[in-house]
Amino acid sequence: MTAKPATGITSLLKTAFINALIALVLFSLMVGIRTEAGPDGQLTYWTRFGELASLVGAVFGGSIVIELLRQWIGPTSAEKLVPPAVQSGMSFIGRYLAPALLIFTVLVPVIFYDQRYILDLAILVLTYVMLGWGLNVVVGLAGLLDLGYVAFYAVGAYSYGLLATNFGWSFWICLPLAGILAAFWGVLLGFPVLRLRGDYLAIVTLAFGEIIRLVIINWQELTGGPNGVSGIPRPSFFGIPLDNSDEGLAARLGIEYSPTHRIVFLFYLILALALLTNWVTIRLRRLPIGRAWEALREDEVACRALGINTTTTKLTAFATGAMFGGFAGAFFATRQGFISPESFTFQESALVLAIVVLGGMGSQLGVALAALAMIGGFELFRGLETYRMLVFGMSMVLIMIWRPRGLIGHRAPTVYLAKAEAISSDLVKEGHG
């Protein structure tokens, strides 16, 4: 913080007045005028100046309080605010959070076996964890802002859906095919956008996501158009169906059949897929290709000077990210049993991107936590009904204020000196000398 805190009653009132003015402009139409359809269909409206005045007044008073608090607390840093004991506790938690989370996740079906709702939610969260990790390769590592990630999710889902319903191929054959097809589309998207970065890239990828969706809607003969693809086979336990028949897994194991078996199986399936994504990403980060992705995010010119083929580097990033999206899509199709274009709107892309950004671009644990917070949180606020989006949006704004680099902004280095004699980067503050 370099800005000097303004003091004095005039500046205080000025800030509050400006905030109140903004609130007045914003709320004058939203709150000040209430419109409704009259009995004969005509538009009736009436004014609500009382509510408007109280809102503006609240903003005025609130900004004075906030400003006073800020001056009273003064410029403090997190180190001063957080006592050392808590800090060491935090670092302890930080070290064991990921393994603890993993163990807990593995045990979820055991703990919540009877609670179908929680199991379904856990599968949903894990799907988004996987999508987040997949997109993280493109956005977090390679720094290519992709707003059309849902396209690859859709390609994966339709690949499995169509291959399984038309040819009767099993999930385990279709899964790699879905990944390969999605990766192919990733490369196809990659070629035209090779020269683009940042905002321009975002716009083109956004359009790409929409194109895929529109093609799916309009190519009726193949995709069934808006009606979608139904009757997609459920996954089998390596050929053994998970149903109530004599051939089913329950009958073969000699245990009583329960529909929960399939849910539990789906849970472990998506967990395995997500962990595969994570493992591959972690491995790739330590290889030259992963380092090249990260270097590309930092400085493209320097990459070229160092002999990195930026074309193949970008394309592999797109393809890898898309492949994981395709896997997730295939899982989505087998879980739902029915897919339609409605599931692959821009909102999904935005949600996955929000998970990656919120988690801290490039951090695997951060993305997992963000997916839990976003999807789980969204469900948590279900009781708030209309105010759900408001609470949700507000909490996101707050997180971005407090942790602008995402929940976990720390980036673990991938190259170490044989003998550790260097000081940790955590001990040194960033400066631009």
């Binding site: 030259p288 380092r291 090249a292 990260e294 270097a295 995010r297 930092e298 400085d299 010119v301 320097a302 990459c303 070229r304 000077a305 160092l306 002999g307 990195i308 083929n309 930026t310 980036r411 280095p413 991938t414 190259v415 170490y416 000196l417 004699e421 260097a422 000081i423 940790s424 980067s425 040194v428 503050k429 960033e430 400066g431 631009h432 000398g433």
Partner: protein, 247 residues
């Protein structure tokens, strides 16, 4: 300095342009193995463009770039680094969010060096710039300007180049730090036999360091000679030395 039979890098009649603006209008330069050659000139003379054109960005419109007698004018940019030509670009361009170790590793990644060779090169870089060893685990962006320059040179050295292109290594550095950088370049040249092309606005330093120098004005080489010769030329003194506060 007598010129060797085949120069390591020979540039003949090189032309390059950004759109309609011609930045290089027929440049001829020769760099012999084991030499330090300085290229000096004012802002916008085309010095950095020449560096970039050697790396194929922008592509040459006319002329030839010969490296060890081979025409590399049309070789793709990323393959040029594999020919053991390394570049420390203008403005350093290190990777700020990656650690010093990773920055250095990036230099070695694109080469076919064995691990043992890379390790030896790393130790050589640390011997030249001990500060990098101290800062090994730090993020590149947390380094000071001088340290970032050391990192940029170190990263270029990691590919075990025969020819090192340095674009304004003293830009924005305190005189003491700039001297350290120049000393390191001299050491590299004398002890490791590295050939260096150095682009500088700091003409005094660069010409004292270099065996030979070229002066570039408006996309053309106007003067050439040994470093000491050029330093004594009255027009050089007037244009690049006494006007500034160097010396």
């Amino acid at each position: 300095m007598t010129s060797a039979p085949t120069p390591l890098l020979a540039i003949r009649g090189l032309r390059a342009a950004y759109g309609k603006i011609e930045a290089l209008k027929g440049v001829d330069i020769e760099i012999n193995a084991g030499e330090i050659v300085a290229l000096i000139g004012a802002n916008g003379a085309g010095k950095s463009t020449l560096m970039m054109t050697i790396f194929g960005k922008p592509r040459a419109r006319a002329g030839q770039i010969l490296y060890e007698g081979r025409d590399i004018t049309d070789v793709p940019t990323h393959e040029i680094a594999h020919l053991r030509i390394a570049q420390s670009p203008e403005g350093r361009r290190i990777f700020p969010r990656m650690s010093v170790a990773e920055n250095l590793q990036m230099g070695a990644d694109s080469t076919e060096c064995t691990d043992a060779e890379s390790e030896a090169t790393l130790q050589r870089v640390f011997a030249l710039f001990p500060r990098l060893k101290e800062r090994y685990a730090q993020r590149g962006g947390t380094l000071s300007g001088g340290e970032q320059q050391m990192l940029a040179i170190g990263r270029a050295l990691m590919s075990r180049p025969r020819l090192l292109l340095l674009d304004e290594p003293s830009l924005g550095l305190a005189p003491l730090i700039a001297r350290q950088i120049f000393d390191a370049i001299r050491t590299l040249n004398r002890q490791d036999g590295l050939t260096v092309l150095i682009v500088e606005q700091n003409a005094n330093h660069a010409l004292k360091l270099a065996h030979r120098g070229y002066v570039m004005v408006n996309g053309l080489i106007t003067l050439a000679g040994t470093g000491t010769e050029l330093l004594q030329r009255p027009e050089i003194r007037a244009a690049y030395l006494e006007g500034g506060r160097h010396g």
